[in-house]
């Protein structure tokens, strides 16, 4: 694939990302799946880079899972989002940043709807006012948390202790980037680099020394797809999608996968285990998977945080081989210790694939 | 305006032709008429030989022409007007005998008239496939099965009705009747039937807006300028139903409606349809007299029965015999503009031949 061609496209999709003063909202599920990611995000921005990020415990879900599962109606969802915006307004912020891709897609959709149908916006204002007495302003900017990290990627690179380079060979790590579908597939101009060749994660990986690989099914969904996973009868379909992606990337021998969505890293990670346990197939060599990371985890890694503080021990696919490649030290003894230093217990490890 | 175009079309050189040459044109369809008017303008003596009592060929039978819906009459009258009685028209005769003497030809016509000409232009045209030969389609057996030329006559007489005099509520066109059909010995595509069928479908809808119209096609060949527009109009304006499937057999019910059997190849299921009127899009075949004419003039036909040309790219107006030129549909199916262009090209070529 021609890099120049992609650069041509990236030029056309440059969104405005503010530099400071963010109103940050968390994802419903990431805290369970990748508990340290959001904490690391705040830590990097606030402590490493001295940015002002506001967070409130009063914010709720955006309603996205319910909305995409046909449970929450659109009006309800819009009112929930209006309430989030009122929290931002009340806190005096206008740069809205969210951790979740589904939320990001939903906010984009709602803002776009209100833009084209002002009457709907009026009704939502009225409904919110009646229900909660709150009022809101529309955010000036809407960023996904990965946009923010993308914005500060060079600052992180300057402070980095490690580079995404294989210390044994000296060559850049081969990284697969996977963007959440709702990041820019619905509104290409809302994502960095557009929908076809999004640049947001590529930019980070390039800045931190890695090399992005292109593979045929790069655009394909990770397989989450809400209904496809939530209903057990449909899970075979979800699995088939993930399988298709891995079959497609396998020949490129990727060292790791970086993602920016709550669902994607989870499914790309856990389905590798399911495929290994049902079909005996692994994609990172014999009994080895391809480790999957969120962008915050990768940022934390290059900044030299303790891998266990990044929550890498809750991954399915063992991360140690990757840490070894980059040369990040880790202590196997402390792997399963909680924040309070107590032993969390060691999980039962599967037979067919090397796990955490 | 008219004068300017006349002058542009016919260069002054025509006036200064000194030794007048003579040409026999066999066939007075549009190709023959157009060539005759060009050649006579160049100052040559033209004999237009016609087997029927009227000139104009098949175009005289048509009502309106695709894709512009121009009346065929108008086109033909224009052509005849341009000819301006400059050619000697010999009707109700065919060539009985032909002998080449030096560079001249001596022709004996069926009325024993002798002509000595310097060159011959063959514009014998085509014949319409006899639909009776596809017995399974029931032409001549079922009263409500007609051909496209029958329908064209009905349009001209403004009397498009079923046998019982009622207007059709449901009507189907069958494409490729006698074309692309190994079983009737016609492997070629007749080129004009697809466009004709779409044209006639629109005309039916124009006439009877509530009539349901179906076009059963194998491949829809909308190859020329504005054809695709016509097709688009048939879909968007007239809601003509297009079914990709070829008729296998037709039957008749008690009400003398036609029951047709086809496969909807896109749905992948056999399809049954009862229509009030079934129109068979009969294709083009070599003129039934072509073989006789070939034997008299020493011409050759290709395996498809249409006349061979010396070279299908650069010498497609030259026959295998020196001094005998060919133009129009006798060398393969053509649309009206193609036929006219071809006969103009032949006339130009003939002129330079005669002047050399």
């Amino acid at each position: 694939m021609k890099k120049e061609g992609k650069e041509q496209i990236w030029k056309d999709y440059q969104k405005e990302i503010p530099d400071n003063d963010f109103f940050y909202v968390r994802s419903c599920i990431r805290q369970n799946l990748f508990p340290a990611s959001e904490v690391i995000f705040l830590k990097i921005l606030r402590e490493e880079l001295g940015r002002n990020v506001f967070e409130t415990p009063h914010h709720t879900t955006c309603g996205g899972i319910g909305y995409h599962s046909d449970i929450v109606p659109m009006e309800t969802m819009m009112t929930i989002i209006a309430r989030q915006f009122s929290l931002m307004t009340e806190a005096g912020f206008e740069n809205y940043a969210c951790s979740c891709i589904t939320s990001f897609g939903l906010y984009s959709e709602v803002l776009e709807t209100w833009h084209h149908f002002p009457k709907v916006l009026e009704k939502v204002r009225k409904d919110l006012k009646e229900a909660t007495g709150r009022e809101f302003k529309l955010p000036k900017t809407l960023s996904h948390a990965s946009d923010v990290i993308y914005k500060v990627r060079h600052e992180i690179a300057e402070k980095a202790k490690y580079k995404l380079i294989n210390k044994h060979t000296g060559k850049p790590l081969k990284v697969v980037e996977h963007i959440g579908c709702h990041y820019s597939k619905m509104f290409p101009n809302k994502g960095v680099g557009g929908a076809e060749y999004p640049y947001v994660l590529t930019g980070m990986v390039e800045a931190w020394g890695g090399e992005i690989i292109d593979y045929p099914e790069r655009r394909h969904c990770c397989g989450f797809g809400f209904r496809q996973y939530l209903v057990q009868a449909n899970r075979g379909y979800s699995l088939a999608n993930t399988h298709k992606k891995f079959e497609s990337m396998e020949p490129f021998e990727p060292d790791m996968i970086i993602t920016n969505c709550p669902g994607c890293p989870f499914f790309l990670d856990r389905w590798q285990y399911v495929i290994a346990e049902t079909e005996g197939k692994t994609y990172g060599g014999k009994n080895q998977g391809i480790p999957v990371f969120t962008y915050e985890e990768v940022a934390g890694m290059v900044l030299g945080y303790d891998p266990w503080d990044l929550g890498l021990q809750v991954h399915q696919i063992a991360v140690e081989p990757l840490l070894d490649k980059v040369g990040i030290p880790y202590n196997s003894e402390t792997k399963y210790l909680g924040l309070d230093g107590k032993n969390l217990g060691k999980p039962e490890l599967p037979k067919n694939i090397c796990s955490c | 305006m008219g004068k300017i175009s006349e002058n542009l079309n016919y260069p002054k050189i025509s006036v200064v032709v000194k030794n007048m040459k003579s040409i026999a044109i066999i066939g007075s369809g549009i190709a023959g008429i157009e060539a005759a008017s060009r050649l006579s303008k160049f100052g040559h003596k033209v004999y237009l030989i016609e087997k029927n009592s009227e000139i104009g060929g098949y175009v005289a039978q048509w009502d309106r022409l695709f894709p512009s819906q121009t009346e065929a009459k108008t086109v033909l009258n224009d052509l005849i007007k341009k000819l301006n009685n400059r050619a000697e028209v010999l009707t109700n005769v065919t060539v009985q005998h032909c002998e080449k003497k030096d560079r001249q030809f001596e022709l004996v016509l069926t009325d024993n008239k002798h002509l000595v000409v310097d060159a011959i232009l063959v514009t014998t045209g085509f014949d319409i496939f006899r639909a009776e030969r596809k017995e399974e389609y029931g032409y001549g057996i079922y009263e409500n099965v007609i051909t496209s030329s029958d329908l064209e006559k009905m349009f001209a007489e403004n009397n498009v009705v079923c046998k019982n005099g009622e207007s059709p509520k449901r009507l189907a066109f069958v494409h490729c009747v006698g074309s692309r059909d190994e079983k009737v010995g016609n492997r070629h595509c007749s080129k004009v039937c697809c466009a004709t069928a779409v044209k006639q479908a629109c005309e039916i809808k124009e006439l009877y807006p509530s009539c349901e119209v179906f076009n059963l096609y194998m491949d829809l060949r909308m190859f020329d300028r504005h054809f695709e527009d016509m097709y688009h109009e048939a879909q968007s304006k007239y809601h003509v139903n297009f079914i990709r499937g070829r008729l296998s057999e037709a039957g008749e019910n008690k009400e003398h409606q036609v029951i047709i059997k086809t496969e909807d190849t896109l749905a992948g299921k056999p399809l049954k349809l009862t229509v009030d009127l079934l129109v068979l899009m009969t294709g083009m075949e070599p003129c039934y007299l072509q073989k006789t004419i070939n034997s008299k003039l020493g011409l050759r036909s290709d395996t498809d029965g249409f006349l061979s040309t010396k070279n299908s790219f650069t010498e497609n107006n030259l026959s295998n015999a020196d001094g005998i030129f060919v133009a129009g549909t006798c060398t393969g199916p053509k649309t009206i503009p193609e036929t006219l262009a071809d006969s103009r090209a032949a006339a130009g070529l003939l002129n330079s031949y005669l002047m050399s």
């Binding site: 346990e277 049902t278 | 079983k183 990709r244 499937g245 296998s248 496969e263």
Partner: protein
């Protein structure tokens, strides 16, 4: 191997990279006219068996060309071999022989060279 209560769905893609139309090549070798089919559907329209079953020669030939034998294997012997399709085919394809060859291959497992 663990049973999770669900299985990965088989791909519905006609994957021409991994499937090989061996059967079609054999078919062409034995019945060259198979190559001249234009998928017009006349055979399927006139078919006696097709009125009652999913037997559809046009589709079968297409799937055979695409290397997907499994999907028509169960129905290929539904044909009564009456030859009506052959009489109706505008391209002179030996449809009957095609059915017989595919049958021989898929149901008897042998096909003479």
């Amino acid at each position: 191997m663990i049973n999770f209560g669900y299985q990965r769905n088989e791909s519905a893609t006609l994957d021409l990279d991994t499937t090989h139309s061996e059967l079609y090549k054999k078919l062409l070798d034995k019945e060259p006219s198979a190559a001249t089919c234009i998928s017009c559907g006349t055979c399927a329209a006139t078919c006696s068996a097709g009125q009652f079953t999913d037997f559809n020669l046009r589709k079968i030939m297409l799937l055979c060309k695409r290397g997907d034998m499994q999907s028509f294997k169960p129905i290929i012997n539904r044909c009564m071999v009456c030859g009506k399709c052959q009489l109706a085919c505008p391209k002179g394809v030996n449809t009957r022989n095609i059915v017989l060859i595919l049958n021989k291959y898929l149901h008897a497992g042998k096909i003479s060279k």
